[in-house]
Amino acid sequence: MAPADPILRLNEVRFRWSGRASFAVSVPEFSVAAGETVLLLGESGSGKSTLLSLICGTILANSGQISVSGTDLSTLPNGKRDTFRAEHIGMIFQQFNLLPFGSVLDNILLPLRFAPSRRARSLDPQQEARALCTALGLPIEVVSAKASNLSVGQQQRVAVARALIGRPPIVIADEPTSALDADSQADFLNLLFDQVKSHGTTLLMVSHDQRLAEQFDRVVHMQDIAHIERQAA
């Protein structure tokens, strides 16, 4: 089922890692509508990371189209693609999201450094950063703290604030809850959903954990959209 207004669309995408252990991923069709929240379920080795790298434009597909907000990534030159990622995608990792030596504020404002329009969208980035921290249940004094002094749970929330600042249309989260315990996971998801819903942000989360499924608009299994080819070296 293809959404009427896809913000993210993959069509006949094929990608092969060069190197000894040949590993290829092909995605015939996958799209996400604007404002939709999608959980992409898959075991490790199912090509999730490769798929995210393709969507973010840090690797280029060998063939096919990947369009984000209507722009075909393969048409952008390398430098533009990096800026495009900064402008359109907020990224949350599994863990070690933050630059440990920077302050929380520096970490939150970092993507704006590479995305002029995203910064322009935010009237007062520092104020927005503080507001996001408050909304995500972080104590206000945390803002000026060094990132490495925060607990893992706090670091993940800072990562959410960083992904959301300047309101990028898409937030991509790569197993953001796997480093958290069950209670923190629920809290984290609730806060994340509050934010993306109130801003109408598209959320694509990758996980292997089926229990997260209930809050999402749609759950997609990796094996349903992607085909993996492996050749032993």
């Binding site: 790298s53 800026t83 990622r85 070690f96 933050l98 630059l99 590479f114 995305a115």
Partner: protein, 416 residues
């Protein structure tokens, strides 16, 4: 903000970074220190004699004349006859003339016969004159004034008797005519410190009973008799000359060099000093080369440190990439880091240099007579510092290029 993060990243690795900074700082301090001592030594060397316009001796080479007349190294091939000396002294362009008579020694130190005018006209380090630290310059025929090193090495004080040996490494001593230390000169950092100075007449006096380099057999002439003898020197080894007008220097030099009665040589001390420096300065240049290599080594050490840090920093680079940084930004970040490290190192080196100079200046002056001035950093030193920083940028190109490749391959996902 990128600058702040770069500094933050450096601080996160404070231990290795500070080691690198220290290595660069020390190497820069060493390099600039050697450079300072080199220029100081050159200046001190050139300051060995000043205020003298011409040095006159028997015809030989200018460096040789300078060596034996000023540095008391080597021997004169020949003397100047007293008649020639008198002729030069009478030349209208000559303002003053000081005779020097060499050839005898006391222990390991040379004995120099001269006139009292020597203490007035011999200048060193831009016109500084000799001063007596204790006692007085010679008043009696058998008085000797000794340099600071002589007094220190042999433990002499004013009033001590000394016996002058004939020749330079001789067991024949002028025992019949013992001298008395009448004064000790202040430290100058010149060969005067290692010289025993007696009067021209005294040189004659101790050689009264000598002929053709051997002691005449028979009864020695009593000291009292010598005192009443005519002690006009028959020859001098060299002479220091001051001209009436600087414009006349070259004319006088030519006149002496073309003196018809005797083959003589007149040299400009400054020119001869430069010729001599061209020979001994090679060692200094080699030292400078070695310290330049130390700077290069420190920079390569920094490169190695940056290289080894790359692996543990792949996560950091992945975060930058995910946030939209281009691989070129990662590249620039590493160069920036290296430049910051080197710049801090260079500043540290400068501080160490001045600290070292501050401590070492009086020691160098008193121990070696080497005057190293403490000035504001020169343009040349500024250029050296800029050069070090620029070189750090160049050597860091290698690890930066590697980081560029890594971040291009890794993207946001670190596969380790």
């Amino acid at each position: 903000m990128i600058l702040r993060l770069a500094i933050g990243s450096l601080f996160a690795r404070i231990l290795t970074v500070s080691m690198t900074v220290l290595a660069i700082g020390l190497s820069v301090a060493l390099f600039l220190g050697v450079e300072k001592i080199r220029t100081g030594a050159k200046a001190s060397f050139a300051d060995t004699i000043s205020g003298t316009d011409l040095i006159v001796g028997a015809r030989s080479g200018s460096v040789q004349l300078l060596l034996y007349s000023v540095f008391r190294i080597g021997n004169a091939t020949n003397n100047i006859t007293w008649e020639s000396y008198q002729d030069i002294a009478a030349h209208p362009d000559v303002d003053w003339i000081v005779p020097i008579s060499l050839g005898d020694s006391h222990r390991q130190f040379r004995v120099m016969g001269t006139s009292p005018a020597f203490f007035e006209y011999y200048k060193y380090r831009q016109g500084r004159g000799l001063a007596v630290s204790s006692g007085a310059i010679m008043a009696d025929l058998f008085d000797a004034v000794i340099g600071a090193d002589v007094a220190e090495t042999l433990g002499y004080t004013v009033g001590d008797p000394i016996v002058v040996a004939h020749g330079l490494a001789s067991f024949t001593e002028h025992k019949d005519q013992p001298f008395r230390v009448s004064g000790i000169l202040e430290k100058t950092g010149t060969p005067v410190d290692r010289t025993v100075i007696i009067s021209m007449e005294a040189i004659e006096a101790i050689h009264v009973d000598w002929k053709n380099g051997a002691q005449r057999p028979g009864q020695a002439t009593p000291v009292e008799a010598i005192r009443h003898m005519e002690l006009t020197p028959k020859a001098v080894t060299a002479a220091l000359v001051g001209v009436a007008s600087p414009l006349k220097t070259f004319a006088l030099q030519r006149a002496i060099n073309e003196y018809p009665e005797e083959p003589l040589l007149a040299v400009l001390p400054g020119v001869a000093l430069q010729e001599l420096w061209a020979i001994v300065g090679v060692a200094e240049t080699a030292l400078l080369g070695v310290s330049a290599m130390v700077v290069v080594t420190a920079l390569i050490g920094m490169m190695a440190t940056v290289f080894s840090s790359l692996n543990e920093r792949r996560r950091e680079m992945a975060i930058f990439r995910a946030m939209g940084a281009r691989p070129a930004t990662i590249f620039g970040l590493l160069i920036l880091e290296a430049v910051l490290t080197a710049a801090i190192g260079a500043v540290l080196g400068m501080c160490l240099l001045y600290l070292g100079l501050f401590i070492a200046q009086p020691i160098l002056d008193s121990a070696f007579g080497l005057w190293v001035p403490i000035d504001a950093p020169s343009l040349r030193e500024g250029l050296v510092l800029c050069g070090v920083v620029a070189a750090s940028a160049i050597v860091s190109l290698v690890p930066a290029l590697r980081a560029y490749r890594l971040s291009l391959a890794d993207g946001m996902m670190v596969r380790t």
